[in-house]
């Protein structure tokens, strides 16, 4: 799928005269269905591993040195950023993959919203880094107490998954911006599902940290 001349089962290319910036797939193939299954299975796996972290937290909570830490207030702002990014990726997805071939203007709009999403995602990561800096300024490091340990572990693992999402979005942005290129609609849909999931996961983790840490 690297050039406009590539024609395969997953993407359609148009004649040069009417070619949009990005083109979408007409019918869902079994490969698309498999990648949809794949993304849901992936989300299930990530959920399961965070469930394991959560149960570890519950067990650890019952021990004597469990205390309390004040969470940095920037986390509220970060939460706002990530939830906004869920909105922008959804707008972008509607422009880019409405299930029909789209004109140049729409795909341009889509790519702008995609860039917004990317920027918000990166801003969230920077915000989380600032939250860590604020905790360090209070003298709370990874090994200071179990509460700070769990905060760093949970937020770091979440950011790690988010960075993977950012990498995929960056790739997709590149594909959209490079004219005459194609990509699989299912890939974009799945990236959006993953991104929404990371938002939900963050809300859960933030609530958990607020209640327990």
């Amino acid at each position: 799928m690297s050039s406009a001349s590539t024609v395969n089962s997953h993407a359609v290319t148009l004649p040069a005269s009417s070619r949009p910036l990005a083109s979408t797939v007409v019918a869902a193939t079994s490969a698309d269905r498999a990648s949809r299954s794949g993304i849901w299975l992936g989300l299930f796996t990530i959920t399961m591993s965070f469930a394991a972290f959560t149960s570890a937290l519950f067990v650890r909570e019952g021990t004597t040195d469990w205390g309390h830490i004040v969470l940095p207030s920037i986390l509220y702002f970060n939460t706002f950023l990530l939830l906004c990014s869920s909105g922008t990726i959804e707008i972008s997805r509607r422009y880019l993959s409405g299930g029909r071939l789209i004109d140049t203007q729409e795909s341009r709009k889509g790519s702008v919203w995609l860039l917004f999403t990317l920027a918000l995602g990166l801003a969230f990561c920077v915000g989380q880094y600032m939250a860590w800096q604020q905790l360090r300024a209070q003298g709370l490091y990874l090994a200071t107490n179990p509460n700070s340990s769990f905060f760093y572990v949970l937020t770091f693992m979440h950011v790690l998954h988010l960075l993977a999402g950012i990498a995929v979005l960056a790739y997709l942005t590149g594909r959209v911006l490079a004219s005459h290129s194609t990509f699989r609609r299912s890939l974009f849909d799945n990236a959006a599902i993953y991104w929404h999931f990371l938002g939900i996961l963050w809300v859960y983790l933030f609530a958990l940290c607020l209640m327990k840490l």
Binding site: F53, S149, V153
Partner: protein, 593 residues
């Protein structure tokens, strides 16, 4: 006709060049063979370690030639230290459980035959598939590196119980960098297994050929499918556990290390951690892992037995449902490994009940195998012998599980050779018998050549008798109170009779291990010099036998298989004999006899 991408075009281009064909291949068949080769290397290393351990157990002062080359500290002058015995024990367990029992029956055969048996051209995500093998390979290399670093492999056993595993070098030799390598290796292995399982599930759900309904899938495919569901859940929990373990070891956190812990006369700078937490997380993975090893073997054995009996099982559906219930129950029983851990005794009761319940589907399956075998005119060859051997091992090893499942009896038997005998038979040897059966059965398809059947039968005979000679006495030793994980025993502790029994076990282990070289030789010799195999040497019905041996890179070529029948149409009249193939449009007519 259902349009799948495999049918419209090809999932990936034909491989060109040595690297794409044999090293970084996207072809599920090559990846399956790579997994098999890795498991083969791991099993011989693991077996060699068990030889060294058995020799040390009965001749603790024996000089083992060449051992000093492996570790100057662990075996000064070729005589193994007790600590090095524990290092070898850890590596034996880890290699066998992760790199053999998970890789061979599930990843190797599953990769090769699952897509073919459902009529797909490849796995759903060929690149993930390649990544999962090479990630597994990386995990193997990281683990083996522990042999070659100055402080050697860890001594914590394959279960790596905290707090000893979590505190670092104060816990003994190998516990500094060796233990870290262990943790990193297993974390990498988890990622690889997750990628692989995800691929298996998506492939089974979405890439089945036309007519291949779920209930028309062969039992082996069902077994790999259920196993991948279990594996997806289990490794997703072990990975966080390993991350927390590595943090405890290197970042000074206290997830698993309690306060006031003194090891090697040193107060550990940790507080408040819970050693039981590690056990919970580990066994939540660890018990399902047992079924990750055994379920594929059950599937393979059923698949082979049906072919050898030339008739279907009494009920294939019940076998499938039993495997599902085993998979489901496997998540409710992890606490039975922790009866003596100091856990609340009420929890022991709660874990004992589902553990005893899990014997019900296992017994149902056994009865279906035995009931189907009753009166069957079974064709005896290497594959069917190992399949029968599997049932024998599964029953003999499984029966001791009834005892261990009860907390009151387990308090006595826990940590003795009884447990070692139990899990070696029911999980280790039984699963390996499944792998042997699968190898003799599918080798013609995988290589295009037949394996030597006489050598195979000899291999079976020695292995079958040998494993009983090794592991049955373990149960007896456990009953008289022989604890496990001790590096050697002296006569006045054990009594001379028991030492003689230990010597008998060691000699049996040496002979049985040596017999595996018959298998290895057969495998390598047949690969190059074996008789040419026809496409369907066993007159079998499933899709893998409808293609050339070995299959081309795109499996079915330009043919789009359509499935018309249940997988096991044996004992019926067909144009090719007493069977009708799954993709043959002809009607199956019950033959008169």
């Amino acid at each position: 006709m259902q349009e799948t991408s495999a049918q419209q075009g090809h999932v990936h281009a034909p491989p060109e060049g040595f690297i794409r064909k044999h090293v970084f291949s996207l072809d599920h068949k090559v990846i399956g063979k790579q997994y098999y080769a890795l498991a083969l290397v791991a099993v011989f290393v693991g077996m060699f370690l068990s030889w060294l351990m058995r020799i040390h157990l009965v001749w603790p002062n024996a000089k083992i030639p060449g051992l000093e080359l492996l570790s100057k500290v662990g075996a000064p002058g070729g005589v193994m230290t007790p600590e090095y015995y524990l290092s070898l024990l850890t590596m034996h367990g880890t290699l066998m459980v992760f790199f053999v029992l998970t890789n061979a029956p599930f990843a190797a055969f599953g990769n090769y035959f699952l897509p073919i048996q459902i009529g797909a051209e490849d796995m759903a995500f060929p690149r993930f598939n390649m990544m999962s093998f090479w990630t597994t390979f990386l995990a193997f290399v990281v683990l083996i590196m522990a042999f070659f670093i100055p402080d050697g492999p860890p001594i914590a056993g394959w279960t790596s119980y905290s707090p000893l595993m979590a505190v670092g070098k104060d816990a003994g030799p190998g516990m500094q960098w060796g233990a870290s390598l262990w943790g990193i290796s297993i974390a990498i292995f988890c990622i690889a297994s997750l990628l692989g399982s995800l691929n298996f599930i998506a492939t089974t759900l979405d890439l089945r050929a036309k007519g291949m309904t779920l209930m028309r899938m062969p039992i082996s495919t069902w077994a790999w499918f259920i196993t991948s569901c279990i594996s997806l859940l289990a490794f997703a929990v072990l990975l966080p556990a390993c991350i927390l373990l590595i943090l405890d070891r290197h970042a000074g956190t206290s997830f698993f290390i309690p306060a006031g812990l003194v090891i090697s006369d040193k107060l550990q700078p940790h507080s408040g951690g819970s050693p039981l937490l590690w056990q919970h997380l580990f066994w939540f993975f660890g018990h399902p892992e047992v079924y990750i090893a055994i379920l594929p073997a059950m599937g393979i054995v059923s698949h082979i037995l049906i072919n050898s009996m030339r008739k279907p099982l009494l009920s294939a559906k019940v076998v499938i449902y039993s495997m599902m219930s085993i998979g489901f129950l496997s998540y409710m029983v992890w606490g039975h490994h922790m009866f003596v851990s100091g856990m609340n005794p009420m929890s022991s009761l709660a874990f004992s009940f589902p553990t005893l319940t899990i014997t019900i589907p296992a017994t149902i399956m056994t009865l279906i195998w035995l009931g189907s075998l009753y009166g069957a005119d079974i064709q005896i060859n290497s594959a069917s012998l190992f399949a029968l051997g599997f049932i024998s091992m599964f029953v003999s090893g499984g029966v001791s599980g009834f005892f261990l499942a009860q907390p009151s009896i387990d308090i006595y038997l826990h940590g003795t050779y009884f447990v070692v005998g139990h899990f070696h038979m029911v999980m280790g040897v039984a699963a390996l018998f499944g792998v042997f059966a699968g190898t003799y059965f599918w080798f013609p398809k995988m290589s295009g050549r037949m394996m030597n059947d006489s050598w195979g039968k000899l291999h079976f005979l020695i292995t079958f008798i040998g494993t009983y000679c090794i592991f049955m006495p373990f149960h007896y030793l456990g009953l008289v109170g022989n604890v496990r994980r001790y590096s050697s025993f002296v006569d006045d502790f054990m009594g001379p009779d028991l030492m003689n029994l230990h010597r008998f076990i060691t000699i049996s282990a040496l002979i049985t291990g040596a017999a595996q070289f018959i298998f290895l030789f057969n495998l390598i010799y047949s690969r190059f010099k074996g008789a040419m195999a026809p496409d369907n040497p066993w007159n079998a019905t499933t899709l893998e036998w409808s293609m050339p041996s070995p299959p081309p890179w795109n499996n079915f070529g330009d043919r789009h298989p359509i499935v018309y029948h249940d997988p096991y149409q044996y004992g019926v009249k067909g144009s090719k004999g007493d069977f009708v193939m799954q993709d043959s449009p002809e009607q199956a007519i019950a033959s008169g006899d």
